[in-house]
Symmetry: C2
Subunit: 380 residues, 2 copies
């Protein structure tokens, strides 16, 4: 990797959503030329990159796209793995590695990986179809039944609280998992480059929307003690090292009521739980991902100020061209950073943007979160 | 201005250099569609905007460009003012206002403005040609002779230290100004929106390169006492209010050895002396400019961490395709933020990028500045 690297280097990104958009905002600083593939001609990255409209799951489309690039990465996991493997065979660098994405695409393989490598996770059993679920359910109620492949953003998960819920189980390969009665959910982002240098971001604490199963807001750093913080970092480090992954990995964990950490899900890319790092940490997750895949030194991950991140979701009952009300009022509050994702159309619970709020004083921060949530709305 | 404003709103920017590039990076967050005009097809903004290649000083080019836009701003002052005035007549918003840009394009008019409005500035006399300079020089040695129009980045200024230097004076309308034996040079950035809301950034202290007459690095906040800090803010506020300007204004001032502040130059746009605000202040100068011209609430300008900004200039003796050496080493230092400007070709003293360094400890910060300056080089 020569120093000439930083000019007219073509980075290919599979997926053109908001994560890609923020990756571009960060990568502009390193003279990276972004080439983006996404099936939506109006994707958030379409206006600020060399954009190709095409299917991420189609072998030929991904091959043709990848062949134009010097390095390929992803901002969504649902991509054609065979094409990525073929690109690696042809000498292209693909980070995260196709095998890692493949493992993460299938929740069954992911759970087995945890088990084999001693990574703490909720007790589970693999199910092939609905009758498997009926068979095992009694030992696992309450439980979550998760589709092996294809689940996304709250899709592909059914909560089984009693036998009355059993009809909701998927009639396809899945995982039946003991429902964790957790105290908190936290997330840790960890990065690793080809030289094996690993850096962990301070953990964040997530608060979920009760209906949409999407993160409603998060607090950084998480309000947990040092022992747990260290344990969370240790688990995240162990996973990225065992995967030998290059890039960044978001690790979502449950903190159980008896103070154990159990890994819930992982994502091998910039993640919703790391948006706040743009303003609140010494290095953002986007810059850290670029540094990891480009083989650069990892940045310092220190949290500079306490921060909250509020997802800006489309309001229920509104589908159509988006209108942002309350934006003026929110921008007037000290420490707010509004990020809109360039999406023309809104629909209920669609991620339309986010607001990061930084404040030295955590009580003041919490008041601002309430204000932002009450004030800023995406309607039609 | 409705809330629909933030989608597919076309902002036109005259000039496509690094200031425009960083404005785009910030404006992506507000769903702004950037339309950029620049005579260089490979300008730093060309890859990340709707780009038009054309002359900024040509009436028809600026008119045709401006008519496609909802709002027009600048990132360089040398633009066709008649076209901008005509666009205003046709109902387009142009911020900063054409009259302000016009005033600032001519150092003679600028100096007279200071005098008329009681803004402190170095003693001066207007000169029409070289023989005027010969006539007045004796009363003004040592002095700076500045071209009225067309000076840029250290061009258009000649230092007259003795009668031997008089042949260097411009034979064109200019200003002969008493050379200030200053202790420091500081800069203050101030913003104002249409509602008249004004916000001032903390002042920064500049250190110049002895040969190139370009800022070599700056320190934020400036190491001056509160009385001077308040006085600097007061002067900057007074200028932007008297200009009734909308947008941001950079005010460069000399701090004389007897602790007076004298205004040196002003620029009605994001400025080299405000790059550090991206990482070091609650709101960046780019976001503040956008907020001002869009009629939004101004952001908080507080300095969060002490910062230094080092300009990354093309090395002497190197002209051609740029190569960045030492980039890896610099990125490895905690608190460094490298911004490259996407310029393929380097030449001596060309601004190729900058590095902002943040550090809670000012001594540590100064060591890092030295390291960055020693390590990071742009050669061929």
């Amino acid at each position: 990797m020569t120093n000439k690297f930083y000019q007219q280097f073509r980075l290919g990104v599979l997926g053109g959503g908001q994560l890609g958009r923020m990756l571009i905002q960060s990568g502009i600083d390193l003279n990276i030329e972004f080439n983006v593939l996404d099936p939506d001609a109006n994707a958030p990255c379409s206006q600020i990159s060399h954009f190709t409209c095409g299917k991420l799951t189609d072998f030929d489309t991904v091959m043709a796209f990848g062949e134009k690039c010097d390095l390929i990465t992803i901002e969504i996991e649902n991509v054609n793995i065979d094409a990525l493997k073929e690109l690696v065979k042809k000498g292209k660098k693909v980070f995260p590695q196709p095998e890692v994405i493949e493992l993460i695409q299938d929740k069954r393989v992911q759970k087995q990986f945890y088990k084999e490598h001693g990574i703490p996770t909720a007790e589970f059993i693999l199910t092939e179809n609905r009758s498997d679920v009926l068979k095992y359910a009694s030992a696992f109620v309450p439980s979550a039944h998760k589709l092996g492949k294809g689940g996304y953003d709250g899709q592909g998960v059914q909560i089984i609280r009693s036998t009355d819920d059993l009809h909701k189980a998927f009639d396809a390969p899945g995982v039946l998992e003991k429902l964790i009665d957790f105290e908190k959910e936290i997330a840790v982002i960890v990065s690793r480059n080809e030289r094996g240098e690993v850096r962990v971001f301070p953990s964040v604490e997530m608060v979920f929307h009760p209906e949409a199963n999407l993160v409603e807001y998060l607090l950084s750093p998480a309000q947990i003690d040092d022992a747990l913080e260290n344990r969370a970092a240790e688990i995240a480090t162990s996973i990225i090292e065992k995967l030998k992954m290059v890039g960044i990995l978001a690790v979502e964990m449950f903190l159980t009521k008896d103070h154990k950490l159990l890994v819930n899900e992982i994502a091998p890319r910039p993640h919703n739980s790391g948006h706040h790092t743009i303003e609140a940490n010494a290095t953002s997750q986007y810059q850290q991902h670029l540094r990891a895949i480009l083989g650069l030194a990892p940045g310092n991950t220190e949290a500079i100020l306490p921060a909250a991140m509020v997802n800006l979701l489309g309001e229920e009952g509104h589908t159509g061209v988006a209108n942002y009300s309350g934006l003026e009022e929110v921008l007037a509050i000290t420490g707010t950073h509004v990020h809109l994702y360039g999406k023309k159309m809104t629909k209920p619970f669609r991620k339309m943007g986010h607001v990061t709020i930084v404040d030295r004083d955590v009580d003041s921060l919490k008041k601002k979160i309430d204000f932002v949530k009450k004030t800023l709305k995406v309607t039609t």
